[in-house]
Amino acid sequence: MLEQIEGSQAVAKAVTLCRPEVIAAYPISPQTHIVESLSDRVRTGELAGCEYMMVESEFGAMSACIGASAAGARTYTATSSQGLLFMAEALFNASGLGLPIVMTVANRAIGAPINIWNDHSDSMAMRDSGWIQLFAESNQEAVDLHIQAYRLAEALSVPVMVCMDGFVLTHAFERVDLPEQAQVDAFLPGFVPQQALDPDDPVTIGAMVGPEAFAEVKYLMHAKQMSALDEIPVIARDFAETFGRDSGGLVRPYRTDDAETIVVSLGSVLGTIEDVVDKMRDEGRTVGVLGIGCFRPWPLDEVRAALAGARRVVVVEKAFAVGAGGIVGQNVRDALRGLPVEVYDVVAGLGGRPITRASLRQVFDQVLAGEVDPRRMHFLDLDVDLVQRELERSRRGGRPGPHAENMLRDIGTVASGAYE
């Protein structure tokens, strides 16, 4: 049923349709509307047979989910930013134990400095936690991905994180086609846990494993997560058959055929990029977009296939590895290893800074004009004057050196006029 609805409400509805049995969540902006709504739905009985736990922290939330999932319950939680990081230890534990927990991450920056607005630093910080990470482009996709996430998680006994941009999606009212309960029930059967705490069949879950078997355990974990690369397209196809729309999948190419330049990104900024690309196509530029729907496991083959024909790839991402570079960019480079494709890292939208068509268009034009050094990160809309001043100041403060010089040269050469 079509509804004009806030993203958080839509996700809460989708989660409700998945019939979770335990929800444990701790409020943090911008995830709050989701969990508030779920609390309502449990209290009103719309979501029946579900225990909603008001835990004392995100660490407690994920821990409660671990317990509940290990006891054989379908579980759900949602968080953001610092909350996700506060869960970090438990995230690794949930994946290590193979518990099919589904979690919404309303993506938000990480402090310090404290910042409540959207970027991908949180999910990206947890990219190696053993969770599958799916990124939603729109609220419709956020809804659909949650339903698919349960199928996926429970098929593989792996936890799944559905990432949706905080505020940009969670707080946006837009048209969403919400599925019917019967459809969801047909698509997502009841949870049959791979293992559970059961007095009739007791087992010891969570053994200590020493050097003699730890590598094998980890290898098997890796193998299981890699099998998601086969499972996700199958689930997306099934989803399309059941619900009549395409959603999910590993990667989503947009006008990439014959594209010499392909912009790679993930999350809600894809729509804005597509608008820019449409405009450039209108102007005769052979530009396309590759949306990453699944970041973990990394769909290396699919990304390589989609990008192999391009000459340039511009990766626009809302996080970066401090002291290293682009995160998605590195993965893209990995996928393109050995191919003559230049990869440009563009870091954008940090801490909620708007990513505008104008800024994107400008940087794309600069890439096409050969004005961007592919060996360096580019920060969209950086206040160059400001950082230049600060860098100069710190250089006077006695920290000169070739790397510091390079930073100055970088912004001096590539960032001029980046901010209007």
Binding site: G98, Q195, A213, E216
Partner: protein
Amino acid sequence: MDKPFAITLDIGSSRANKTGAWRTERPVYTNRMPPCNDACPAGENIQAWLYEGEEGGAGYERAWRQIMVDNPFPAIMGRVCYHPCETACNRGNLDESVGINSVERFLGDEAIRQGWTVTVDVPPTGKRVLVIGAGPSGLSAAYHLARRGHDVTVKEAGPMAGGMMRFGIPKYRLPREVLDAEVRRILDLGVRLELDAKVSDLMALKDEYDAVFLAVGAQLGKRAYIPAGSAAKMLDAVSMLRDLETGEKPLLGRRVAVYGGGNTAMDAARTAKRLGASEAVVVYRRNKDKMPAHESEFMEATEEGILFKWLTTIKHVDEGRLVIEKMELDESGFPQPTGELEELEADSLVLALGQDTDLSLLDGVPGLVVEDGVVMVGRDMMTGCPGIFAGGDMVPFERSVTVAVGHGKRAAKNIDAYLSGAAPEPVVRPALASYDTLNTWYYSDAPRTRRPVLERARRESTFDEVVLGLDESNALYEARRCMSCGNCFSCDNCYGVCPDNAVIKLGRPGEKYLIDLDYCKGCGLCVSECPAGAIQMVPEEI
């Protein structure tokens, strides 16, 4: 369930890990000698019979039968024994000793009430044994010999069986029906008792028997030389008590003095009271602490109004009065005269200065040695003459019914060995279960039960039994105060406290626990938490 590799494990799989390999010491179940058993002159396994008795019900009979293994007189013992077991009892260090004697009496009385009997469970040996004297020692020997299949004849000089149990102990301490019942049980085993059959020449009889046990006791009252006027009334306590038993009521007068400080003195004084004396005073040359009479006898005598003159000797006896001299103890605790004289009114003086044995029947027995008026025996109770054994008051040892019963038992065992030609069973005495081997925390706080006593008025005028028995619940309570020193009593503590589940509870009657050496790490917790000290650590041999 599809268990993920390594992360999820089968329950209980650690039993594959035999942690017993860590051990440097291992716990071993042991039986230590409980101090009560250790102290019992009759060699009773007190801990064992209390263990049975603790269960109540059918346990009483098992307990009684356990006593009967060693002692045929539970009901008598429960009255007349001075219970050194209680003196030795470890519980005395905790609160008060277990009232072993009173439980024994309860069991003995219960056996009489219920008519429990024992049987001879071995075929006749064809060996004939003569027992001379039907006192506690002789009857005990006869009992044990009969149960071992021997043909026993008891020759008793007196008109009734019982010896000092009958002629030395007043009936207010030992009712005769109790004595008769327990003697009867022995005779019922087939023991032949000949009364008024004084043996005056042992050698004449000896060849008719394969072995002889002498148990003639010490019947002759010692008489000290005390100057006395012609009208002075003096008699000895043993004779007085014997006469009373045979129906002659001695004429003692209103005021009676008893000379001596032993149990016989107490009995004499208390008897005098019952015979109508308005005043009975015990004159003893030392003080109370040095008095050989048992504390309980002294207490009961005091309660009955018996008076005591301590540190006093009698210099002269006249009609109606005694001249006495005050004594004082020297540095070695020996009484020395002070020369300070006074008078004491007394219509009669009863001498209770000890007894001697009439050894005339032993004339001509080869090898038999007599010293200080008693017959010398070895540890096997055999005299210097092979085949002739002796025990009870006629051998050099403390004189008490219980000691005599023990002699009878030991003699019977050795006579049995002598007759079969086998070496006597070796006596294994395990280490003492001393107080420090126990973990007394585990015993609940339970002071002993007092036996009810006859009210004073009745005690002074009748020969009714003074100390009454425990009823069943009290006897049970008292039995359950036993700490089972040195011996497992199935408390399950070792099974409970092992952090490694390495104690296996067998749970079958008579089978208690095993240490599972596959898993025992040798921590020693079972040993330190065993209430009874019935487990010990021994080093592993490497």
